[in-house]
Symmetry: C2
Subunit: 356 residues, 2 copies
């Protein structure tokens, strides 16, 4: 038996880092070196879980924490489907591809551990675009304490990204979608519809979007609600949870179906977009944005009534709002401002129907 | 604290399996149902590690085996780069995308645990192509005892596949690339160059390739050497190991670089392709195929001389051949038939230079 390996050793496909004599692999080498350098230099700066990317191997090795389960999730992030090369700043593409995958870990109440990056892109983007992309990715990696453990790169005309995130959660403490019970109060974090408003602003704008525009910020730089998810799991407040990636109506339908329950949403309670000017207000219905548009990455969760009173109104700067309750019959109803309730059909994001 | 969850619960993006009311997600639903059905039906038939795919959640949950480390690897498998839609049978595409990712687990001496499937493809392929693809994927999943744990699907004009495999290995028993020492004997499994010969046969052929052609079999249906890798790790025979995905000259360069050693290959010992007819022999140099062509997924490993004599010549039907030895200086040399040795430069597969 050899000496115990490092907790994480990096994955095979980046092994050519070490093959400096490999003439044919020089192109790939320089890209892999760039990726490794970018992440290596961050490891000494206060990250709790540094990794050594210097030596490649066939796969990454991960030593699980005793008493914990692992959370596994993967996510496409594709040019033309999830982002546009000429509109979305590469720094935000790097941030968002990791942030949205981390949102699935948040929705289980988990702690991020590491991620794998699969990246395909044209040779023409190996300079500035790649630098900025890796800058955004590294920023998210450091902020959410999720280390790069390995990956795979290849050349392609389109930019293709796939992220696998590994998280961990104390055994038995993951919050599933299936635990909601009739009478539970339905809560949501943040405001809904802001990401869609940002996307529509980007669509109307000419050329590359500024990363400093407050309206587009939620679309370009979503924040996975990791601290909130972990706190809910730790405190045992929440019976069920899902992240809002595809819109409230669609994701609530999923949570209710998994729990075999229904729900009654109170329209007046749903935290909606606040418009900075009247022209935007005229062209958008904030309720429709909140109900049916995706990409917000807020958390939707259920809390039994006896525990709901202990929930703060604001958690680490993020509003928590009670927006309805779970009902025994499997219908989804929306209580309108006139006091009538109507059926709510899922109307969210569906990539098999809709493109950017 | 809720009841302990199943060892594996499936990933979020397939949660819409449960949203039968989601009108907008009907297309995706039917695809996800097809995938889940295909894999669900296999779980009762003798698989050691069945999973329940019936209920979706935000991510898959995996309970690690005590005393084991996890092996993580991801692999692109892209139309036009790694396979051609009109040449490669969809059944073999399904098999190969998983088999080649599993080869990285084999190269660490690991045991497959589960995989995530990220799949993007055009709506026009949701019928027969998808059925055959899933048939091949399921075949590999059952044969190599690696369960589907989750994934992500979306629509795309090209077929894009990314596979993440999770394996496990007893803590400290993974075979790395970095353990080779001067004097170690260099072994290889199987014959080298067969996959490239298969690819060239496919390129010359018209239309879809037959899955029954013996010449193309190694290219279409590679067999990750999992049993051999596990046996070597368990017996402690091997000091270093890598799988031959990019060709002997390139992968040997990587192993030597990781171990800070060199090697002397004996040309006459390298197990080469046997040609079924003279026309093929005229157009191909078997040594060049063996040295520089990839996709064989055989294992290249080093064994200390005192242990090498205990290694069988054939392991479960696969030949194990001593092809050279590890040297202290960092050169790679090839001993030719005339008794002279020359420098060996890596000449293998490089996707940043070369396409199908």
């Amino acid at each position: 038996m050899r000496d115990p390996p490092a907790i994480l050793s990096p994955s095979v496909d980046w092994s050519s880092l070490t093959t400096s004599v490999a003439r044919k692999a020089q192109d790939e080498d320089s890209i892999l070196r760039k990726i490794a350098d970018r992440f290596r230099s961050s490891s000494g700066q206060g990250l709790e879980k540094p990794i050594a990317l210097g030596i490649g191997d066939d796969a990454a090795l991960l030593r699980p924490k005793p008493g914990h389960e692992l959370i596994l999730t993967c996510d496409w992030f594709l040019e033309g489907t999830h982002f546009l090369r000429d509109k979305h700043p590469p720094h935000s593409v790097g941030w968002k591809c990791l942030a949205r995958a981390l949102s699935d870990v948040a929705a289980m109440g988990g702690i991020p551990r590491c991620f794998l990056l699969s990246l395909a892109f044209p040779e023409t983007l190996t300079g500035r675009w790649l630098d900025l992309f890796l800058g955004g990715l590294r920023h998210a990696s450091r902020k959410f304490r999720c280390s790069l453990a390995g990956g795979d790169t290849t050349r392609r005309n389109d930019i293709l990204i796939n992220i696998t995130v590994v998280g961990e959660v104390r055994t038995g403490h993951a919050i599933l979608r299936s635990g909601a019970r009739p009478g539970d109060i339905l809560f949501v974090s943040g405001r809904l519809g802001e990401a869609e408003l940002g996307l529509q602003t980007i669509r109307r704008s000419k050329g590359m979007t500024s990363t400093k525009n407050a309206l587009t910020r939620k679309h370009l730089y979503p924040e996975p609600r990791l601290a909130l998810g972990q706190w809910l799991a730790q405190k045992g407040f929440s019976t069920a949870m899902i992240d809002l990636s595809d819109g409230l109506s669609t994701d609530l339908t999923r949570l209710c179906a998994a729990s075999a329950v229904g729900s009654l949403l109170d329209q007046s309670k749903i935290p909606q977009v606040r418009f900075p000017d009247t022209s935007l207000r005229r062209s958008h219905d904030p309720l429709q944005l909140a109900l049916h548009r995706g990409d917000d990455y807020e958390l939707l969760f259920t809390v039994p009534p006896r525990k709901a009173k202990f929930l703060p109104r604001v958690f680490q700067g993020v509003r928590l709002t009670a927006i309805g309750k779970i009902t025994p019959n499997r219908e989804l109803l929306l209580l309108e401002k006139n006091g009538c309730s109507k059926q709510l059909a899922p109307g969210g994001w569906d990539l098999f129907r809709k493109k950017l």
